[in-house]
């Protein structure tokens, strides 16, 4: 038997190389199992609190989105196929809830799907991220529709946007480390909204059957080109470069480019290349734009304002989407005729494919750079 790869290897192969996505998967596992060997440092990077407590079980290594041991298994389990993974259908949809519509910035599909799941008792909590301050975000569990709408109203809708661009306005929310506390609150089934790396870690955990991912019944994935770390230095640089005051920003979005909406109602479009310098370095080593292993993947890309592009991937995802549609939580964009529908959907898909290719290419280059020219871990 090969030597078990442990957190030490994870530190060397992922954290120290700067490709840790801070998804919190390793920590969530370690704490949920009450092994408590790990913590997040002030930059939300995992590290040992107490190396002696590490049992060298090797599970954190396996579930990391940046390691590839379980990748083939995931591919097979989800019937992955190029270029964007398996999916059943692509649509453009929006919420029917006036309240959600008022506060959401895209179509509000995520909030509405979660409302449907909560209303129908299919979950008893949804793990989402909520803005707690101008530059701070926190993962929360919404257990009641009101909490979800509240989160959507003040912060969650923004978070959707930001996550859709992959971004959290400021620091990335290590959502998974919140899951660890779930079981004690007697949660049975939860839904998680997350970025590709977070969903990837969840799926790897589910491959192994390990806690706390056994509680997660539904995954809604956000399209993600990259995340941004708005620390003080980065903010200053960006403000200077774009000539805006970030205090005035009301909304960030990525569709074809980086879209900044200011308080005065002014919208600035910035080519993505120009904001790369504030993107988290880990994101450059990530292959997944369209959240290839989620039950349903969503984002603004390809849809007109007020609509969410929705990729229905798994059987579970299809059931949820169809039921939410049937019960009137969401409605689909209407087209003149079948021809227009086909054309629009093809366009949406083409955009997603193009972004996916771009991200995969970038990851390939980044990883080969890190390996000094040789290809290493994290196969596409």
């Amino acid at each position: 038997m090969e030597e078990i790869k442990t957190f030490k290897d994870l530190t060397r192969e992922v954290v120290e190389k700067g490709i840790c996505g801070k998804c919190g998967g390793c920590l969530s596992f370690c704490s949920a199992g009450e092994l408590n060997a790990l913590e997040m440092d002030k930059n939300d990077q995992p590290r040992y609190i107490n190396e002696d407590k590490c049992l060298k079980c090797g599970i954190c290594y396996l579930i990391c989105p940046q390691t590839d041991t379980l990748n083939m298994e995931l591919h097979e389990k989800f019937g992955w196929k190029p270029p964007i993974g398996d999916y059943q259908r692509i649509t453009s949809a929006q919420t029917t809830d006036k309240e959600v519509k008022k506060i959401c910035t895209d179509g509000g599909v995520v909030t509405s799907l979660l409302l449907y799941l909560l209303d129908r008792n299919l979950i008893n909590g949804a793990l989402v991220s909520k803005k707690t301050g101008r530059f701070a975000r926190k993962a929360i569990i919404a257990r009641k529709p009101e909490e979800l709408i509240e989160a959507a109203g003040s912060t969650f809708s923004e978070s959707l946007h930001l996550e859709e661009l992959g971004g959290k306005y400021t620091t990335y929310t290590p959502i998974l480390s919140t899951v660890k506390s779930l079981e004690k609150k007697y949660l049975r089934d939860i839904a998680v909204v997350g970025t590709p790396c977070q969903i990837n870690a969840i799926r790897k955990m589910q491959c192994l059957g390990v806690l706390p991912a056994h509680l997660i019944k539904y995954t809604i994935g956000l399209f993600c080109i990259e995340n941004f770390s708005f620390d003080d230095i980065a903010r200053e640089r960006l403000e200077k470069k774009l000539d805006v005051n970030l205090e005035d920003v009301v909304k960030l979005n990525i569709k074809d480019d980086f879209i900044i909406t200011l308080t005065k109602g002014v919208t600035i479009h910035v080519p993505l290349e120009e904001v790369h310098e504030v993107a988290r370095p880990a994101c450059f080593a990530c292959h997944d734009f369209s959240n290839e292993y989620a039950d349903i993947s969503v984002g603004g890309l390809g849809s007109p304002d007020g609509y969410t592009t929705t990729l229905i991937r798994t059987k579970v995802g299809a059931t949820v989407y169809d039921e939410a549609l049937r019960k009137g939580y969401i409605q689909e964009r209407t087209f003149e005729d079948a021809e227009e529908s086909r054309l629009e959907k093809t366009k949406m898909l083409a955009k997603i494919v193009s972004f996916s290719r771009r991200k995969k290419m970038r990851a390939k280059e980044r990883l080969s750079e890190l390996a000094g020219g040789e290809a290493i871990g994290g196969k596409a």
Partner: protein
């Protein structure tokens, strides 16, 4: 030689096999009791109460489990399967395959530290998948032998070479990943088959919506929900919203007396449903139960009185009519559609929970066992017997009792077990 052959193999550690083993052991005959699962106890251990006395099932079973474990004439072979039988009546050679438990039975004290730390969660078979368990686990709380077992299918060390967390927390050093499966040869004079039943899978009757509607459950699932050691701690909460079920529809003959499925009567379900309806009422006096039946078969000692008591004291209505289909409303309440045979009118009833009395079928792997034993099965795959030799199989020296012979309730299984034990004793003491 003489000494050696005064031994009997009993296959199946449910109530029938246990009773047969105890009777033989008490006669001074050596018994090898073989059970495929990690612990003996069988289906009876899964029941909350037993009819017609409403005794706590595990309370009357547990002393027998302990007796089996301690009996100087009984050797337990758990996690074991019979793979080969050669020879003849009076002198059978039996090859047993013993699966590794990966836990040292001598050292393990069943403290549960390992399970508390095991990170893998899989559906619990004993609780009918209604709860998740760890991969190192006690088969059930009162199981005998009272030791942990590692589920090899899901253990991360055995499947992927990582983890070993349980090993690090076991202060008794009982975890043993080096354990290997072994083959054991036994020499016995007679064999008793008591392998029990599996419930019919009602997805074969899609109009009842099992698995499609969350509040349509099996009677064995209902049993686990009502059991204090079950997944809800003994509260009959319906799966969709964990709210107490107050109106319950019991749908009888699901897969039984049915030309498309099993033509035979499963014999225990009329009483089983009555019992569950009574228990539900005992838990909560707001409960109203309706039992939809074709014919109410209460042909046992005290059974007719039991049904009468149910009707008079436990708020049970017996409605004669076969259920055509089950649908559900917006709140996931099952709607039972049926024909009232007295008025010949179709009708429907909305309930909080629908419980399907699924038929009792031979174990899924019974054909392989029959082949190994060299015995014939009947048209439904129950062991073939003859009316005047009801406990003899088609091969001399091999006997049968309990639900693998035909659907049988507990008192009847116990009676058959004693009969089969006596038949086996006759053979080996000759």
């Amino acid at each position: 030689m003489e000494e050696k052959l005064r031994a009997v193999l009993v296959i199946g550690g449910g109530i029938a096999g246990i009773q047969a083993a105890l009777d033989l052991g008490d006669m001074g005959i050596k018994v090898h009791l073989v059970e495929k699962k990690p612990s003996i106890g069988g289906r009876m251990a899964q029941l909350d109460k037993t009819f017609p006395t409403n005794d706590c099932s595990i309370c009357i079973l547990a002393p027998k489990l302990a007796d089996c474990f301690r009996h100087s004439n009984i050797t337990l072979h758990t996690l074991s399967e019979v793979k080969e039988v050669t020879g003849q009546m009076g002198d059978f050679s039996v090859k047993l395959h013993k699966y590794a438990r990966f836990v040292n039975e001598e050292k393990c004290v069943n403290c549960g530290e390992c399970a508390a730390k095991c990170p893998v969660k899989v559906p619990d078979e004993f609780d009918m998948g209604l709860r998740k368990r760890e991969v190192i686990y006690p088969y059930y709380l009162q199981g005998v032998p009272a030791v942990m077992t590692i589920d090899r299918e899901n253990c991360l060390y055995l499947t992927r070479g990582v983890c070993r967390i349980c090993e690090k927390f076991c202060t008794r050093e009982a975890i043993d990943f080096e354990q290997k499966d072994t083959d054991v040869m036994l020499n016995v004079g007679a064999i008793i088959a008591a392998t029990g039943f599996d419930p019919y899978d009602p997805s074969g009757i899609p109009q009842y919506g099992y698995k499609r509607y969350r509040n349509v459950i099996l009677s064995l699932e209902c049993e686990r929900l009502m059991c204090a050691s079950g997944p809800t701690g003994g509260h009959l909460l319906r799966p969709s919203d964990n709210k107490p079920a107050e109106k319950i529809a019991f749908v009888q003959c699901v897969g039984s007396r049915d030309f498309k499925n099993n033509r035979y009567c499963s014999s225990v379900c009329c009483m089983h449903a009555t019992k569950e309806a009574m228990l539900a009422y005992e838990h909560d006096h707001k409960v109203k139960s309706c039992i939809f039946y074709m014919d109410l078969r209460a042909a046992g000692k005290g059974f007719q009185e039991y049904v009468a008591r149910g009707e008079q004291e436990y708020n049970i209505s017996y409605i004669r009519g076969r259920v055509a289909k089950i649908t559900e409303d917006h709140d996931e309440n099952p709607i039972v559609w049926y024909e009232e045979t007295q008025s010949s009118k179709t009708n429907k009833m909305t309930a909080d929970l629908a419980v399907l009395a699924t038929s009792l079928m031979p174990r899924k792997d019974v054909k392989e066992l029959a082949k190994v034993l060299g015995v014939e099965l009947d048209e439904y795959n129950f062991f073939k017997t003859d009316p005047l030799n009801p406990l003899d199989t088609t091969r001399p020296g091999i006997f049968v009792c309990g639900c693998c012979r035909e659907p049988t309730d507990i008192p009847e299984s116990v009676a058959q077990a004693s009969g089969a034990a006596e038949r086996a004793a006759e053979t080996v003491m000759r």
